[in-house]
């Protein structure tokens, strides 16, 4: 069986958007008889080593790349190794390579418009910088609209930041991570605060966790499954010798639930 390779940074391995995308990338690949090999790596050196390993192997036909950090360097490396690739990247990182482009500005507009309709004046975005696809450019764009507090990907930091902000009065909190959003809600409820009346909570990642939490969490559906399938099909077209086409990812939308 011939395979397609995918490297996921350890920080993004637990991200449900990345999980949904990875599951969906495999759908067209499996239909076409390929396997999807995924390796979780701790750093850029390990990622490079994996690409070199795959380039030296006859069993890997190409690489699906998740953009978001050092994209130009990684693309240059893949090209120098002669590994065909297709990438999911922020639309401002699009270049002369096959890709699915995610319009971060559009995403920010969708979320910003929703947040503007919330009743609480203060809105804070508590980032996790974990999905390794568009999180950094999203963080930059959102900083133009709301306060941004980084958590470094640690749930404890996110909870501490959220509780501290909530001390200052009613607010809306936006989280990169659905897991962080759920943990914060649990802490808020334990300390007698009402969600969403005192603190409204929105997750930038929709997931089963958001859907089954109590209260259910309002979230951004980032279309991970659809983007994944597009990326898988773009990969197949690339190894078949197709041109460097860039597909436009579908726009995200808000799934309004009980938490905001």
């Amino acid at each position: 069986m011939t395979g397609i390779g995918l490297v996921v940074p350890a920080g993004g391995a637990g991200d449900h958007f990345v999980s949904a995308l990875r599951q969906a990338v495999a759908v067209p690949l499996i239909e076409a008889g390929f396997g999807l090999f995924t390796r979780v790596v701790d750093d850029a050196a390990a990622e490079e080593a994996m690409y070199r390993r795959w380039a030296a192997s006859e069993g890997i036909a190409g690489v699906v790349m998740l953009g978001g950090h050092d994209d130009a360097e990684r693309i240059a490396l893949l090209r120098s190794l002669g590994l065909p690739f297709a990438a999911a990247v922020s639309s401002d990182e699009v270049g002369d390579f096959p890709a699915v482009a995610i319009d971060v500005a559009e995403s920010v507009d969708v979320v910003g418009a929703f947040l503007a309709t919330r009743r609480h004046e203060r809105t804070v975005y508590i980032t996790a910088s974990m999905d390794a696809v568009t999180s950094r450019s999203r963080e930059r764009k959102m900083a133009e609209y709301v306060e941004v507090v980084p958590s470094g990907g640690q749930a404890d930091n996110a909870v501490a930041a959220a509780l501290s902000i909530a001390e200052g009065g009613a607010c809306t909190l936006l989280f990169d991570s659905d897991g962080h959003a759920q943990e914060v809600i649990a802490h808020l409820l334990r300390t007698g605060r009402r969600v969403p009346d005192d603190v409204a909570v929105v997750s930038w990642t929709d997931s089963a966790l958001c859907r089954s939490s109590s209260p259910a969490i309002t979230a951004v559906d980032r279309r991970g499954s659809e983007i994944g399938e597009m990326l898988g099909r773009r990969m197949l077209a690339t190894i078949a010798g197709g041109a460097s086409v860039v597909d436009r990812a579908p726009a995200p939308f808000i799934v309004s639930r009980e938490s905001a």
Binding site: A26, L29, T38, V40
Partner: protein
């Protein structure tokens, strides 16, 4: 909070129990291990030395002093060993490589079993395992074993009343053949049991809590982890919730009974009902055969989530039957925490959660404790993650095995 577990002086598996204590503690000192286990300091020192010599445990700094020298802390050497979990599924084979701490470090997804027999599929699995190790740079000598999550009953040498599609798989000695082919220990459990085990490990749930998981793929399974170990029943076949009778006047089930949960609420029943509505069949592109069952069911589930009333009625009906079965199960087992897992809940899981929560308001124990219902966090690869955990547990901490008999042996 430190949990004590006294080990008997004649325990044959003291070493594995100490290793498990280090795993569940994160970091721990030798003194704490002695307190937790009831073993002498000398015994702990000797056991820890052997674990360090084998590379399974490393010293990772120093703890706080309680008056004398600061104690050195121990933790698992996570990358010292790996285990692989394989989920056998008609639509997709999912392989997961987990390190010693249960962290997923690699995955492989390949075409599913479809209708192929074990004798056709196992050579492919062996070949793909070789590719997995090679392409992901996993040293084979550090792989302790393979866990296999397979659907349905584990009938070992055969039996009666087997499902239509899985006759050969049910009775085939998968683990024996895999062990022989790949030269690594193998252990097999049903996918629901693996899902429960994954929730227990990944969710860092204390060993004192019970973890119950309802798994839905093409049918249903029910897994229960109690006291840190899987409940297996007399023949490793506990949890056949799909054949709980919900409606005595219901449709016949392939097992011979009538009105089983599977016949009423599983994806096949829902897809058949959707396909009977000609306009809906065309609209959703329902094919209707077994090869497309997962895709057809997903189409119905997604349409229900989008608000299509015809599909919502079908999923709601399925969810009502599932909720009824779980109310009885909760009453029978006095459960307080339920997880829903597997690909069947990927799209419409929230609808099922809602219906089940409504039903469990009537749980007999409602005045004593609440019953929570959640969708399992390890996602759709939950069975493979659990199978890898099973292999780690089976090989590295044999003291946790159930004495009654080897699963699937």
């Amino acid at each position: 909070m430190m949990v004590s577990r006294r080990l008997g002086p004649s325990s044959e598996n003291t070493r594995s129990a100490v290793l498990d204590m280090i795993r569940s503690s994160g970091t721990v000192s030798r003194i704490e291990l002695a307190e937790m286990s009831g073993l002498t300091g000398t015994s702990i020192t000797r056991i820890v030395k052997s674990l360090i010599d084998e590379g399974l445990v490393v010293e990772s700094g120093f703890g706080d002093s309680t008056g004398g020298k600061r104690p050195s802390l121990l933790e698992l050497n996570r990358s010292a060993r790996y285990a692989v979990g394989v989920s056998l599924d008609e639509a997709r084979l999912s392989y997961v490589v987990a390190d010693l701490g249960g962290r997923v470090v690699g995955q492989l997804a390949t075409p599913g079993v479809a209708k192929k027999t074990p004798s056709e599929t196992l050579p492919r699995i062996a070949e793909e395992l070789g590719q997995l190790f090679d392409h992901l740079g996993i040293p084979v000598e550090h792989v302790v074993g393979i866990g296999v999550a397979g659907a349905g009953l584990d009938l070992r040498s055969g039996g009666e009343g087997l499902s239509r599609a899985a006759v050969e798989w049910e009775s085939y000695p998968v683990q024996d053949v895999l062990e022989e082919t790949i030269g690594l220990p193998a252990v097999r459990e049903n996918d629901a049991a693996c899902a429960a085990l994954a929730q227990y490990w990944v969710g860092q749930i204390p060993a004192t809590d019970d973890v119950a998981t309802l798994y839905m793929a093409n049918g249903f399974g029910f897994g229960l982890v109690s006291g840190g170990t899987l409940s297996r029943g007399a023949s490793s076949n506990v949890g056949e919730i799909g054949h709980m009778v919900i409606d005595v006047a219901g449709p016949p089930c392939w097992c011979g009974a009538r009105g089983c949960l599977e016949a009423l609420a599983a994806p096949r029943a829902i897809v058949d009902a959707a396909a009977a509505n000609a306009p809906l069949r065309v609209e959703l592109g329902i094919v209707g055969d077994d090869a497309h069952l997962r895709r057809d069911f997903d189409a119905v589930a997604r349409a229900a989530v989008r608000g299509d009333e015809r599909c919502l009625a079908l999923i709601n009906r399925s969810a009502e039957y599932v909720a009824t079965a779980l109310l009885s199960t909760v009453n029978l087992l006095d459960l307080d925490r339920l997880f829903l897992a597997g690909p069947g809940f990927a799209d419409a899981g929230a609808i099922y959660v809602g219906r089940i929560r409504e039903a469990l308001v009537h749980a007999r124990t409602r005045s004593i404790h609440p019953v929570t219902v959640e969708i399992s966090d390890p996602g759709v690869d939950v069975a493979a993650v659990g199978a890898a955990s099973l292999a780690l547990q089976y090989v590295l901490t044999p003291h946790t095995r159930v004495r009654r008999g080897r699963a699937g042996a």
